[in-house]
């Protein structure tokens, strides 16, 4: 394949799509599939064929439309109409309304803040293209970034463009992507690897899953560009086995990309070659840590090892290795196509671009959103998210999963970016955002996360292995109203120990949910300890005390 071929495929695909007067997009990402969008799509196809409408109307399975709470979702691309909660019995009404007045009772307001306030870069194709057809991705300028990079830019220029964009790792810590690529490119060695971390382990996060299910080629293209820039010719996508649909679509996408020649040898008639393999995770949160992930790809237990040496010089099979997460790679193709300066124009001074969040918990609009960095928490929760259901009071928003923290109402006007979140004791994390209302006891929430860290601790270093268990026991005693006078001091003492002495990021950040709830919701703790009462009324006394 050369660049002309790419443009040709895009042109053909475009004109084919324009041939249809109506395109009905049915969301077939995991969320809507589990409310029956698969059957809905089938019913639509059958009915269209029965009515003989198939020459001017087409049904297309697309990736996540965002508003998971209202599934199954359906969009009429040309008319710009969204239908929500669609059932098989609605099919004939929908088809009859085509071209006329929409079906009133199914309408999902598109001009609501949920849709209006989003800026989509990573999700630009989500809900618009069929993730199982490479041609549709190409019709949206897909693989154009790779073509541009390998044919007109030197590897150094690609890295310069990435550095100029100010893109930071979207996996959690926010390490500057350009810097990471530079160190891998500079590392000595002929064999290098690129790994995409799709082991999205944070409970309450589903951004990576949605991207892989809705637009897998974007990640593949990003990895290939990274391979070109760093001098790697082999890539791995390490994806959770718990995401069967994402695995299936990634495998299909890889197959198509190889067949089309955008992966393999001599890509776009250059000397650049790049291949990608899929490796399945097996249910270990700690494998999100770089060195543990590498151990897992090598077929071993995912136990982190001390760094340095960093994977950039001593990684997979001892070779220099670049590890970025799904969303980071997904940002790369548009960044190359449109330039680093364009990307740097979005977001805040130190956090550029946009961020995808998975909104969940006690919030009206649960689902997937993408907003510019620096959007305030209030805008996200109350405007885009539609606020708290059933007239309840907002209590906290949890970001960063088990490594993050609970942010109270007083910080609602804080801009969401890496540094502001760090300042209040939380982290950006991979983008899970869980909203809690007054019915959640924050000690119980801390206990929930500590239970998670305890059972996900790899057990290698003593502070994390035993510390998580001791902290969990204390939190159980507190929620069970069985705590002693010294428990609070011991809790703080152990959190400090784990933070300072654990081997890897999991152990060092595991105390964050406890520390932030202690800082902002101390009353929840004190009420349990002194009055033997749960302020939120959420904890059953003396439950599950070890």
């Amino acid at each position: 394949m050369n660049i002309e071929d790419l443009h040709q495929i895009a042109r053909i695909e475009k004109s084919k799509q324009e041939g249809f007067q109506h395109q009905i997009h049915v969301c077939v990402a995991a969320g809507c599939l589990s409310c029956g969008s698969g059957q809905l799509k089938e019913a639509l196809e059958k009915e269209i064929a029965r009515r003989g409408l198939d020459t001017w109307c087409r049904v297309k399975g697309v990736g996540c439309l965002g508003l998971c709470t209202a599934g199954p979702l359906l969009s009429l691309e040309t008319a710009g109409i969204f239908y929500q909660g669609v059932k098989v019995s609605d099919v004939s009404d929908i088809l009859e309304a085509l071209g006329g007045a929409p079906v009133e009772r199914l309408i999902c307001p598109v001009n609501s803040a949920f849709f209006r306030r989003q800026v989509r870069i990573v999700l630009e194709n989500c809900g618009r293209i069929d993730p199982e057809r490479i041609e549709e991705y190409m019709a949206e300028s897909g693989y154009g970034g790779l073509a541009l990079a390998v044919s007109q830019m030197s590897p150094t220029e690609v890295i310069e463009e990435v550095s100029r964009s100010g893109l930071r790792g979207r996996g959690g810590a926010g390490f500057p992507t350009g810097l990471k690529w530079t160190s891998v490119a500079k590392a000595s060695g002929l064999t290098k690897f690129v790994i995409c971390n799709a082991d999205e382990g944070d409970p309450g996060a589903f951004m990576d899953r949605s991207v892989l299910e809705s637009d897998p080629h974007r990640v593949i293209e990003g990895m290939a560009i990274a391979g070109y820039a760093t001098g790697a010719s082999q890539g791995y996508i390490y994806v959770r086995a718990e995401y069967p649909l994402a695995v299936k679509r990634v495998r299909l996408a890889l197959f198509q990309a190889e067949r089309m020649g955008v992966l393999g040898n001599n890509i776009f008639n250059t000397s650049f070659s790049f291949n990608i393999k899929v490796r399945l995770g097996a249910g270990a949160f700690v494998c999100g840590e770089e060195t543990a992930l590498i151990a897992s790809i090598e077929g071993r237990m995912g136990r982190p090892r001390p760094r340095p040496p960093f994977p950039a010089e001593f990684g997979l099979w001892e070779h220099p290795t670049l590890i970025n997460n799904v969303e980071t790679f997904a940002n790369v193709p548009p960044l190359i196509r449109k330039g680093g300066r364009w990307f740097a124009g979005l977001g805040t001074e130190k956090s550029k671009g946009t961020k995808v969040f998975a909104l969940a918990g006690k919030i009206m609009n649960t689902g997937l959103i993408e907003v510019p960095m620096g959007t305030s928490l209030r805008d996200i929760v109350f405007d885009i998210g539609g606020g708290i259901p059933r007239g309840k009071e907002f209590k906290a928003v949890q970001t960063g999963g088990p490594s993050g923290g609970c942010i109270p109402g007083q910080f609602l006007d804080m801009p969401v970016d890496y540094d502001s979140l760090a300042k209040v004791g939380s982290i950006m994390g991979s983008g899970g955002m869980i909203v809690m209302d007054e019915s959640s006891c924050m000690v119980d929430v801390a206990r929930f996360f500590m239970e998670f860290c305890m059972s996900e601790s790899c057990g290698k270093c003593a502070p994390c292995r035993v510390g998580t268990r001791q902290i969990y026991d204390i939190l159980c005693r507190i929620t069970g109203n069985l705590s002693g006078p010294d428990d609070l001091a011991m809790l703080e003492d152990l959190c400090d120990l784990m933070k300072s002495t654990s081997l890897c990021g999991l152990g060092q950040s595991a105390p964050n949910p406890v520390l932030t709830t202690l800082r902002y919701f101390r009353d929840d703790y004190l009420s349990h300890i002194h009055d033997k009462r749960c302020l939120a009324g959420a904890c059953k006394a003396a439950r599950e005390v070890a």
Binding site: A462, S500, T501
Partner: protein, 255 residues
């Protein structure tokens, strides 16, 4: 079990730089590929360790050997940290010592370490560390897990109640004996050392019965049968020698 870059073998082809730096206010010099722990010990400065053992690969896991380095906020494990020119290392600041104590106390709570009835009483590295660090009592609640004793092997026994998961047994079996009979199952607080497919040691097909694992074990977890309280004394002088012999470059002596 390769978890860390192999030490470069120094030779004329691969010279290593000699560095000068400070440990506890003392000026020392060492090669760039010698760990801070090893340099400190050569200079008579003791740093407590549990998972480290001369002659085995490093794990960096017990966290007892953490030290402070001036200008670095994080505490660094000295067994896997290498010196840099003009580095200033403090091995026993108040902060570091207090963390070491807490880690050791956590280890005491994790399993059932009843020194009074232990074969290794008086010869135990865990017990000695408690004395060295001045631990008079354990502030955290003991967890009292229910763990088994496996005495199925004809000469040795393993008592999980006394295991600190240093994994010296796993490493010596893999790296020196070459059998890899031992490994570690599960994760987190439920981790446990196993032989073969988590079967009784006595039924292991791969165990050569060499007993190296018993000798390197820092506590009474692995012991020789027939030893009563305080009678188990470990001898491991063979280790550095074996490592040298097995790691040597020219595989055979001139015959």
């Amino acid at each position: 079990m390769k978890i860390h870059p192999r030490k470069n073998v120094r030779s004329d082809l691969n010279p290593s730089r000699l560095l000068t730096f400070r440990i506890d206010e003392r000026v020392v010099s060492a090669h760039e590929d010698e760990s801070i722990l090893s340099v400190a010990r050569q200079n008579g400065i003791s740093i407590p360790t549990l998972c480290h053992l001369d002659g085995l690969s490093e794990r960096g896991a017990c966290r007892l050997c953490i030290v402070e380095v001036k200008g670095v906020a994080r505490l660094l494990p000295s067994c896997v940290t290498f010196p840099r020119q003009d580095m200033e290392i403090i091995t026993a600041s108040e902060r570091v010592v207090s963390y070491r104590k807490k880690i050791l106390e956590l280890l005491f709570t994790e399993r059932n370490h009843v020194c009074a009835v232990c074969v290794s009483n008086g010869h135990c590295e865990l017990q000695n560390l408690a004395v060295e660090l001045g631990i008079s009592h354990v502030r955290y609640p003991y967890l009292y897990p229910r763990l088994a004793v496996d005495a199925s092997h004809s000469r040795f026994s393993v008592d999980h109640n006394r295991c600190v998961l240093c994994l010296r047994c796993v490493r010596v079996c893999d790296e020196i004996e070459g059998a890899h009979t031992w490994d570690i199952m599960g994760r987190g607080i439920t981790s446990r050392v196993i032989t073969d497919l988590n079967q009784p040691w006595g039924s292991s097909e791969t165990c050569t019965g060499c007993g190296k694992c018993v000798q390197v074990c820092p506590t009474g977890a692995l012991s020789e049968k027939g030893k009563s309280v305080a009678e188990m004394i470990k001898r491991r002088q063979f280790l550095p020698y074996l490592q040298m012999m097995r790691g040597r470059q020219d595989e055979s002596w001139p015959k």
